[in-house]
């Protein structure tokens, strides 16, 4: 007869008396080691185990019974009536108990599920967030690909390659690059008078429930930003921007080139533009050239779609925030750029139809692109522009001169300290003395007043 202690039973013992588990574990180990060392063949081991178990269990059982009664005082006795006899019965004792098996439910699961209402709330929130994520992601993807299909033939008529992502050996086309769940971009290249054009479709974060809720308070619109990089010869030297007042005010403050080259902001009404628009321009001549009647007509018809247009040959991005640890010691590299920013109509609840209605804006892009490449400044405007650029460069150099001075000073300090360290580290004394002498002579030569030696030939 083999009495293998069932695991569930052992678990029960642990359950009732916390401290027993330690003694029980230790005894088990000893018992286990003892058994494996002492006996070799299978039968003897089983017999030995049987004897030990039986003896061991009895003692265990009695102890068990007393503990049960003290701990579960509040439960009435009938409930445990079958408990004691059922255990001894299994060991083959005389009375046979009713065969009912009470599974021992761990104490903590007894509280009902309603108490976990906060957890259910949390899981519900997560599910809602996940569903909104999937819905928002597909909506954004649908809008972005709708923009590409709407403008595909116009782009293909103007560019050799539309939608290249730069990877792979030869040029691909038709690829909508996904920067993140709400930013898509398309790169087109291969056109007269421009290097390439990057269209960035910055949609709203429809996939993020938090931003969906925050947008309910203050609605905002999807943005399409078209950045055209121009070649060196493709544009004359001027800086110009037009757009609605608020954006133009922000740009005038933030952008390097606008704040340097454009003195003041002028209202757009004078040039026939809708009332909410303002102009930043380096010279009146540029404004007259840029704001032609076609531009005026388009801006008046689609005022809510147009955010701003920024043409500049000294474009170097937004101003470096003064919190930047190391201030720019050299002139930021400038390039000739035209930037358009359009709002997708529909104020956040835009659909594919709204995206398709943006086609005139792209026509405006190509119109402005051709006009800028054909436009040449007059003689005196050209000289004035070049003069201001030189002036800006000089003021920049003067401003960074002090910093460059400090940097040179720090480098010299660094070199001297390294020299001294090397000298200290030198072991044999005479080489050390020689280095000190050289150092001393060099310092003396520097301190010597700069005197012109005159060779006087005595008669």
């Amino acid at each position: 007869l083999v009495a293998i202690v069932e695991p569930q039973d052992e678990f029960a013992e642990f359950e009732d008396n916390e401290f027993a588990e330690f003694e029980h574990v230790i005894e088990d180990e000893e018992e286990g080691d003892f058994l494996s060392i002492e006996t070799e063949d299978e039968e003897e081991e089983v017999l030995w185990e049987d004897v030990l178990d039986a003896e061991f269990d009895d003692g265990e059982a009695d102890v068990q019974v007393e503990d049960d009664e003290d701990e579960f005082e509040q439960f009435d006795d009938e409930e445990f009536e079958g408990f004691d006899s059922e255990r001894t019965g299994r060991k083959g004792r005389s009375q046979d108990p009713p065969d009912l098996k009470i599974t021992n439910v761990p104490y903590h699961l007894r509280t009902s599920w309603e108490n976990f209402y906060l957890e259910i709330l949390m899981i519900g929130g997560l599910l809602a967030y996940a569903m909104n994520y999937v819905a928002g992601k597909t909506k954004n993807h649908k809008l972005a690909s709708a923009w590409l299909t709407a403008h595909k033939d116009l782009l293909e008529a103007n560019f050799t390659s539309v939608g290249d992502d730069g990877q792979g050996a030869e040029v691909q086309s038709g690829i909508l690059m996904k920067e993140s769940e709400h930013i898509y971009s398309i790169w087109c290249s291969g056109r007269v008078c421009c290097e390439g054009m990057l269209v960035e479709i910055k949609l709203l974060k429809r996939q993020d429930l938090v931003s969906v809720i925050s947008r309910m308070m203050r609605p905002s619109a999807d943005l399409v930003t078209v950045t055209v990089d121009l070649g060196v010869a493709d544009m004359d030297s001027f800086v110009f921007a037009v757009g609605n007042k608020k954006t133009i005010g922000r740009l005038h403050k933030d952008m390097n080139d606008l704040s340097l080259f454009v003195p003041d902001k002028r209202p757009g009404e004078k040039y026939g533009l809708p009332s909410g628009m303002a102009i930043l321009s380096e010279s009146g001549e540029v404004t007259n050239a840029m704001i032609d009647n076609k531009m005026v007509r388009v801006l008046n018809n689609y005022a809510e779609m147009f955010d701003f247009l920024h043409i500049s040959d000294q474009f170097s991005g937004p101003k470096v925030k003064d919190g930047d640890p190391q201030p720019a010691t050299k002139m930021p590299d400038t390039k000739k750029t035209i930037i358009f920013a359009f709002n997708v109509p529909g104020q956040g609840r835009s659909s594919v139809k709204d995206v398709f209605s943006m086609e005139p804006m792209m026509k405006l892009v190509f119109h402005v692109l051709d006009k800028v490449s054909r436009f040449r400044l007059s003689k005196e405007a050209k000289t004035k522009a070049d003069k201001t650029r030189l002036k800006v460069e000089e003021s920049f150099l003067k401003m960074t001169h002090a910093q460059r001075q400090e940097a040179a000073q720090a480098r010299r300090e660094e070199r001297r300290r390294a020299e001294k360290d090397r000298m200290m580290a030198e072991e044999d004394p005479d080489r050390q003395r020689k280095m000190e002498e050289r150092e001393y002579r060099r310092d003396m030569k520097k301190k010597q007043p700069k005197v012109k030696q005159l060779k006087v030939k005595m008669g």
Binding site: L109, L154, T160, M177, S189, G190, F366
Partner: protein
Amino acid sequence: MSAAANSSADPRRPNKVVRYKPPSQERLDDPTPDYMNLLGMIFSMCGLMMKMKWCAWAAVYCAFISFTNSRSSEDTKQMLSSFMLSISAVVMSYLQNPQPMQPPW
């Protein structure tokens, strides 16, 4: 004014094709994924250490928010690690003390 009516001939120049170069310095215009990631880490740490269940749940939310806002160029390992950390915080805090959660208020 379609491109065909444009005075110059076809504006396309196959020889002037320039390949796309992603912008060199990633200008941080959207700091939310990084902030949420950091917040998620802090919440799951204090969820694990101080056994505060609502912190663990907040960590799961932060991890999910930073996942939805993350740029696709970001490596997924960081996302996965923040998710694993926050889920383990929830599981651990329930294993040690299976009582229902007490709201922080």
